[in-house]
């Protein structure tokens, strides 16, 4: 019995944070001691290497491995600071057509021999790119934001995953703004889970640090920064491993902040 968990990270809509989630989750899992590989199936517009700061180290891709012009070890790019994490681009941006679901299964079964977690970064959309990426997945994490369009697309993707027999499918709600939720200008957590009816794996609050870390090529979970998004991603990684960690409550997050401000003001006054 293979204990490797092959998890597809998908969303349907673009720009909701699939790649950011993959990068941060990969680092977080690796830091927990799991041998992890992130497979960039979005190789037409590949960004995962950028986010991980590994762009200049890529020599080969899975394409060369399957063509047997190089060994898997040569194509795997080890992360600089986190040796438990490796990156494998699924293909070359110039050769988009070559990948088929069969190739994907072949690559993943090679990876499953060496790793505890295989995270597949899925391209946006539900066309061939998605079908290829989903072909080898056994589980899925659907990333969505509290927006009507993102939730609608996520719903479609979940339907497709269900027909492919991918279980369990879990949900990550990204870019949550507690303040907007509390004044009901944004879909609430319940609104989203009501429609999608999936177990909620994590809530990630909107965090400016994500932009900074993305541009630097150092995922947030890499440092010891106490930023809310880093905490959220670390919690998601631990929940994936079965730990029972309560979800953050958006209304409490806000109160917490308010309470802190109030405290600060008091200390200044007296």
């Amino acid at each position: 019995m293979s204990t490797t968990r092959t998890i597809l990270i998908c969303s349907g809509k673009g720009g909701v944070g699939k790649t950011t989630t993959t990068a941060n989750l990969g680092i977080a899992l690796a830091r927990l001691g799991a041998r992890t590989v992130v497979l960039d199936a979005d190789f037409g517009l590949r960004n995962l290497d950028l986010l991980l700061g590994l762009e200049n180290r890529i020599v080969f891709t899975a394409q060369e491995v399957l063509a047997e012009t190089c060994r898997l070890e040569q194509a795997l790019v080890k992360h600089k600071q986190e040796p438990n994490l490796a990156l494998l681009p699924a293909g070359n941006p110039r050769m988009l057509e070559w990948l088929t679901p069969k190739d994907m299964k072949a690559i993943v079964s090679l990876l499953e021999e060496q790793f505890d977690y295989v995270l597949i970064d899925c391209p946006a959309g539900i066309e061939d790119g998605f079908k290829n990426a989903a072909a080898a997945a056994r589980e899925a994490v659907v990333v969505t934001t509290p927006e009507v369009a993102a939730v609608r697309d996520a719903d479609r993707v979940i339907g497709l995953l269900n027909t492919q027999g991918v279980t369990p499918v879990q949900l990550v709600l990204n870019r949550v703004r507690p303040k907007m939720m509390s004044i009901q200008e944004m879909l609430s957590v319940d609104d989203v889970t009501d429609i999608l009816a999936l177990p909620l794996l994590g809530l990630v609050f909107e965090d400016e640090q994500v932009i900074v870390s993305t541009n630097r090529g150092e995922p947030l979970t890499l440092g010891e920064s106490g930023s809310p998004a880093a905490k959220a991603y670390n919690n998601i990684a631990r929940r994936l491993q079965g730990e029972d960690i309560p979800l953050m409550d958006p209304s409490e997050a806000r109160n917490g902040f308010r309470a802190r401000v109030r405290q600060l003001m008091q200390t200044r006054l007296f």
Partner: protein, 219 residues
């Protein structure tokens, strides 16, 4: 050897697991967790019992996604199964339908499960959906449409022009309703909870009222 945990309404699994294991043959066990929602710690306890009895767990099936999630985290082979269908026979239907689904002699198509965005269900008779119809999904029928759940997508009853057709849902908040040739947008306000509603055609206009008891028309 297959073991099924007791129904969660009758007995707690912790009380019966020892006996169940005792009665099972030695060797590998396929565990059916039914409706139990088991956390990682629950599974740890359960596995400890299994190991103590000198047996091993081969695979696990459950009706609850949460249990499958915990089992996968535990490194167990786990599978989600649908809850037992409310009708007997081959009426259960798990894939988003593209063509005719199962029908009964009454001429009603029965669909179990949520219709998600992009799904499309059509019948030449009436349709009974046991689940939600999400925004972006479409249901069309030549007869009536009954949704035992929330209708938030598009529904078209009486698609062949039958003006007697009705659309009924436990929560009727569709994007759009069509009966025969009439089209209406769904209401914007939230419905009264716990009140099933029906849409029907009166004087060429679609009206929504509290649902009546009815028998589904063959259409």
């Amino acid at each position: 050897m297959k073991i099924k945990l007791p129904n969660h309404r009758d007995q707690h699994w912790r009380d019966t697991i020892k006996d169940l294991l005792h009665n099972a043959n030695t060797g590998w066990i396929d565990l059916d967790c039914g409706e139990w929602s088991l956390t990682y710690t629950d599974l740890q306890d359960l596995m400890a019992e299994v190991e103590q009895s000198g047996r091993g767990l081969d695979s696990l099936i459950s009706n609850v996604p949460d249990t499958v999630v915990s089992a996968r985290a535990f490194g167990l082979e786990a599978r989600l199964q649908r809850s037992a269908p409310i009708c007997s026979g081959d009426l259960m239907h798990t894939e988003p339908p593209t063509k005719e689904s199962s029908t009964q002699s009454t001429g009603v198509m029965f669909h179990q499960g949520t219709l998600r965005s992009g799904d499309y269900l059509h019948s030449d008779r009436s349709i009974l959906v046991y689940g939600d119809v999400n925004p972006g999904a479409t249901v069309t029928a030549c007869g009536d449409i009954l949704v035992w759940g929330r209708l938030r997508g598009v529904a078209h009853a009486g698609a062949n022009g039958s003006t007697q057709a009705r659309i009924i849902a436990l929560q009727l908040r569709p994007l759009q309703l069509r009966i025969a040739d009439a089209v209406a947008r769904g209401p914007d306000d939230l419905p009264q909870p716990g009140l099933a509603e029906q849409a029907s055609l009166r004087n060429g206009v679609i009206r929504i009222d509290p649902a009546e008891v009815l028998s589904l028309q063959p259409g």
